[in-house]
Symmetry: C2
Subunit: 306 residues, 2 copies
């Protein structure tokens, strides 16, 4: 039997570090997950990779939350993971494991993963948005990842809008991410708005999560529903701009919030269709990402195996 | 003496049709200009090309204001030049002149022109914005034109903003184009705002042009200055989004409004630097386009000659 080449895919986000052993068909064979801030980043990374590496592994792909200098293969900046900035992750791993090591931004890696074996399989072009605490993005064009920053969560949708963590005002992320929705709900509750969400989290409104908002929306709570719709509407504003720029075949939406697919994405779709050039949007498919939390590790591994 | 290969470059905009004879060093040898709506579009085009075509001409490049289907080589939609929609411009010219004919969007062609022999020469990546009645865009990435729609004037900067001719609300074009500035000035004057611009155009405020606004701004008129600054500020909002998406080496600004370079572009630069990711914007150069009105015809010809 021929042994298939394998790779280690790593996805280092602001919250969790995921490491997986992946074969050359894109299948996840084994995986581990730990909170990202569990001690020294490089030590943790080396130790987690060691657990899964074996003789079939031909390389390691890293997906990191932050702006990556692709040429120098370093993390230039990472607001959600400052420990990674300037660290010699790639060269250290190369030395430690004597393997090829490549690094990419996490949302770009997710797009690579979805393109390889997920919702973007077979597509020549798509824009992928990853909805989570923040909003990440990746663009596939002409059958391959467009190697630009693709910080799609940080396009401005309201010139004088909410201050974003990145320093800008009115970023898409400040209106359509999990953080944005939670913040909107807490503000509304503080201002006395009626909502079943008050009963959530043993009455501690500061513990409400995006998932809670989604669950209460399904039960018909108006504040929760309006919050999801508002996020969806802004997502549609951003998507319209991206369609007018990239004229993609599809928009793929992934990340922690896609449980709320129906409410958020239907609203986003409607809004984007109203806004974007008709000739550009009419054939755009809206697709849910299909790899879930594995998109990043699979995409990272694809840089080695594809 | 070896005769240089030449091409005909054509730039069909909403206002003018420009046709030029261009050699393979990008030099404009001869050119003609006529209003675009001077009778039948294809007839006019054929006649203007006939005047300049000679035995050294190896092909014709067309730059057309509108959304181009690159594969089928047709104009899918063109709000400013409806006569061009669906017309068989490429195949008709091919047949008429028995030459290679290629078509591109006009702002994309301008980016090609600037990349070939203008401000973008030698750059691997830049975003070009063409400020005129509307705002066009083109993106060069990895040393070549990114073949996407690049309707950069139609990214949303104010989600609930001014209604744009394209049907969207709050497009960059609705805040930073010549049309937008004139509209802002007329509104202000109608509402009684004090300004020397009242003396313009023999007192007919409905005849004020962007050039008038620029000239009065230079003389210190506050309304004119504020209008240019406001346009510049919004241009900066758009540029910040584009820098966060494309992480380019430079932003090139061209078009009819660049006479007002200092006021508009300095404001845009300041605003973009405040908004975009620091690591992405800090090395971005802001450059004025250098080919002026020839950018489109030169870029169109480059599709044949480069």
């Amino acid at each position: 039997m021929v042994r298939k080449a394998k790779a280690i895919g790593v996805d280092i986000g602001g919250t969790n570090m995921r490491v997986a052993l992946i074969d050359n068909s894109g299948k996840v064979l084994q995986k581990r997950k730990q909170p990202s801030r569990d001690g020294d980043l490089l030590e943790q990374l080396t130790s987690m990779v060691s657990e899964l590496v074996n003789d079939d592994v031909v390389g390691i792909g890293l997906a990191v939350a932050g702006v990556i200098d692709r040429e120098r293969q370093v993390v230039v900046s990472s607001p959600n993971l400052e420990e990674a900035e300037g660290k010699e992750l790639v060269s250290s791993l190369k030395e430690e494991f004597s393997l090829e090591v490549k690094m990419e931004n996490d949302a770009n890696a997710a797009a690579l993963g979805e393109h390889w074996v997920g919702a973007g399989r077979g597509l020549k072009s798509f824009v992928m948005l990853t909805l989570g605490t923040g909003i990440g993005g990746g663009v596939v064009h002409d059958g391959r990842l467009l190697d630009v920053a693709s910080e799609l969560g940080h396009i401005t949708v309201e010139a004088d809008g909410i201050r974003c963590l990145c320093g800008n005002n009115g970023c898409l992320e400040s209106y359509a991410s999990a953080r944005a929705m939670v913040s909107r709900v807490v503000d509304a509750l503080e201002q006395g708005e009626e909502s079943q969400l008050r009963q959530c989290c043993e009455g501690n409104i500061y513990k409400i999560t995006a998932e809670d908002i989604y669950n209460f929306a399904l039960e018909g709570d108006m504040l929760a529903r309006e919050t999801l719709k508002e996020a969806g509407r802004y997502l549609g504003v951003g998507i319209a701009s991206l369609v007018n720029i990239f004229s993609p075949e599809a928009v793929i939406i992934g990340g922690g919030l896609v449980g709320a697919w129906n409410i958020i994405v239907e609203e986003a779709k409607k809004e984007a269709q109203r806004r974007a050039f008709k000739t550009l949007i009419e054939d755009v498919e809206f697709l849910p990402a299909s790899l879930g939390d594995d998109a990043g590790v699979v995409g990272a591994a694809s840089m080695i195996l594809k």
